[in-house]
Symmetry: D2
Subunit: 275 residues, 4 copies
């Protein structure tokens, strides 16, 4: 399990969202409330959009709570859209190239969950990545493969469709290998304009994913944040603050698209490759 | 809070003690059972005695559970006496020089607990270290200062006496600064022959410290270990394995001296400096 | 030896100064031209001023050339005043708290050179730091002690005077210990408004220190930089680019004060403590 | 470029070979004499054989010269066969999984040099690795792919043959991609009994590789080492010590097999796959 969040809205010091709220993502790195593995200390990452064409990226293998550089960066950089992740490694080594977010051009991508028994199908999934994206795979996680499959399957022109085709491809490969219920995930990805969130598993319930109901509800979550960011939306693995009612929990098999403070909800269903 | 253990007895692959038991020290780095702060992921250290004059030392700022080098070292190095520690940093930075054990000549030293409000008396304590030991202080923890005070106060010729004089000195400095109940600690130290354990706080109860009752009781803790190490003793912050009855909990204000598998118990009382 | 640089002037992406010029500071981390020890790979640091009250700080023990986070931060953060340093460790451990710049309030400080035989006088120098600054010493370098002595000796109200009193104090302590020619150094420090550079040794020549002659001369150093930063000044251990004539080498026993693109030069002489 | 060495012979403290000689591998990490890129500071690794079935492995991304753990491990562990490597990264990220040696079962493998324009053929080479070895690829270097190709091509039953088939395969894939002279390399690999060294490029000269002529010649290289290890052989990228005459330089397109102190030389020629 991992934990992640995305912020979209009024430009704000990252620190306001990442460190200051109760049960902040940094607190969750030490002790998440709604995760099977409460400790998410196998590295972290922060990607933020500023005035450059591509987002900035800061990733480290240290536990987020003891990295002074993350603290300093967060309290000196402002952004109107950023994506952060704290990792609990399962199979893959703890190294910066396995830390989320992953970046390609303007895109950032985070993942929580797993492709079950990935070791049995990794080679086939990797082979399904388009050759032009193959060389930009720098690590060894299932997450990075999922992202590069989405790039291969049209992320630029149809983001949610690419996620659906990726999920369909993974399930069809896994089904052939007789892996039960292979996908159990939330995804977060963004091109710097819109933030996409997906929650999906075929059977049962995927890991939790929620977003702030109304910008004004932020007052209950973190008064200082509400003041600093009157127009914003936070999408997160679990609520920040101590007011769960301020958060809308996204149902399984669904997706959201956030632009500025606006949220649109959609169903999400894997789109398998033609037989 | 931190967690530590010492092993003394039959030469054994370190891995047998450090990784294989249930609730091993490595498990405790992720989630200790008897600590206020269950996560001890701000670095770790292992000191072991072999055929060289001084012990070997391996320290790292990574969480112990995700450091592959520790795993490899432990499963390739045998030792008849070693000391390991997983750290939950309080005030001092997470850096190798702040990881325990600390080493000086043949001595290794670990500490769990704290000198309360150390910031108000650190300078005075530091200048109480004898000049000949001052330059070997490489980090910034209260623990390392305690060790160097003990070196200054006769650790070589009278180990438990040096610990008592150190505790007496710290309390007298803290009392002048009006710090309440300044010491709350367990200490472990060894010259490669004997292992010394101290549990002390003036009021209330110090952090837990226990040792295996009888070598044969190890069978309940970890059958493979009992087989591999018929003559041994483990001293630890909390029990390994799932058989608390196999462990003797050391009372507050007391000390033990372990040589091979033999354990002797003593009262422990600070020895304040002459007025 | 180490290498450092300070930039003051038109707000600019840090990357323009830190990475893009020929013989950039990052190149110097791998192979400096004018240093006895050409490799400066024992960590690095970057301090930058933005819209917050205190400067941001990013320090790491990795070689500057292989740290992807430094590259990303530099190409996404703009600043009108920043200070960067690449380290070749002499005696002190390689750890973040020993990486320059050091920070206190609005001040940043870097150092190149050494206090000779520091081990013989470290304790006395440390003791001379005012108690109110003692607790903010987080590492173990001579450089950080020098900075905290300057803070103790009036850095806020008289920056160059504080440097002179620090140098006078170090020399007087070292002279009593019969250490020959104890100081061999360049210093860089800034409050976010002015950058102070000092080059000093009592006998012989201190490490090199130079600044760009005229902003227009930057065209020869790095045309893109000159374009991006029409009003700026760079102070550095050795010239960037391939046009040494574009740089003014500061004589031994002298100091400069840079504000925006303006440079004023002063003699520098230690100011010993009253007998 | 990288630098590596293998030791085979009398059990010895690793430190004797790794740190103590002049121009030791650790010195070469800071400044190699016979390499295009003199600095090899992008991580290092040490693999050693002891009493366990598989070799121990210690790898780190720090420069070898400033890693205190390597120093301690080397001065506390004895071995009669070990392999060490210091890395100058070319394309692949600096992370432990990209540090040599690579390990599989009893095998260790190091590489110096490159597959030219690897980015154009990495995907094809990766998919030529046998599926049963695919999942044990943990990093992203060309070196690790070469090792896994050798495992796929019969390393266990015919070590030099597997190297020849790997080289033949790489050249045939590269030739189809019109990459000129694709292989420029030395290889070192061992099963814990024999050490294999290969030096090969099709045109021109591969990186240097040499071994000590006679155990007695070691006296000129490092008298203490000769005394400690009367029966040994060192295979290295460049001579240790200051007596080049004590070393035999292996010609291009050749291989050596070392068992204990015995050396046998062979020609080496790629063995391309059947058309």
């Amino acid at each position: 399990m991992c934990r992640w969040l995305a912020y979209s809205g009024t430009p704000i010091l990252i620190d306001h969202v990442l460190f200051r709220p109760q049960n902040s993502l940094i607190d969750q790195s030490l002790s998440a409330r709604r995760a099977f593995t409460p400790t998410n200390a196998d590295g972290f990452g922060l990607g933020w959009y500023g005035r450059q064409e591509t987002p900035g990226l800061f990733r480290s293998i240290r536990p987020a709570w003891n990295d002074l550089n993350l603290r300093d960066l967060s309290s000196h950089v402002e952004s109107s859209l950023f994506l952060a992740h704290v990792r609990a490694a399962s199979a893959s080594p703890v190294q910066e190239t396995n830390c989320h977010p992953f970046r390609h051009g303007r895109w950032l991508f985070v993942h929580n969950g797993e492709i079950r028994e990935i070791g049995r199908i990794r080679r086939e999934l990797l082979f399904a990545v388009a050759p032009e994206y193959f060389e930009s795979i720098a690590g060894t996680t299932d997450s990075e493969i999922m992202f590069h499959l989405m790039l291969s399957l049209g992320l630029d022109r149809d983001p949610l469709g690419a996620a659906a085709r990726m999920a369909g491809l993974v399930e069809s490969v896994a089904d052939r290998a007789k892996i039960e219920n292979p996908l159990w995930m939330t995804l977060g990805f963004t091109d710097g304009v819109r933030v996409y969130g997906v929650r999906y598993t075929r059977e049962g319930e995927a890991p939790s994913l929620c977003h702030t109901r109304e910008p004004k509800d932020l007052r209950g979550v973190c008064p200082a944040l509400a003041l600093a960011a009157p127009h914003c939306r936070i999408l997160a693995s679990e609520p920040l603050g101590d007011l769960p009612k301020a958060w809308h929990f996204i149902p399984n098999c669904s997706a959201v698209v956030i632009e500025g403070e606006r949220v649109d909800a959609y169903p999400f269903e894997p789109d398998p490759p033609p037989a």
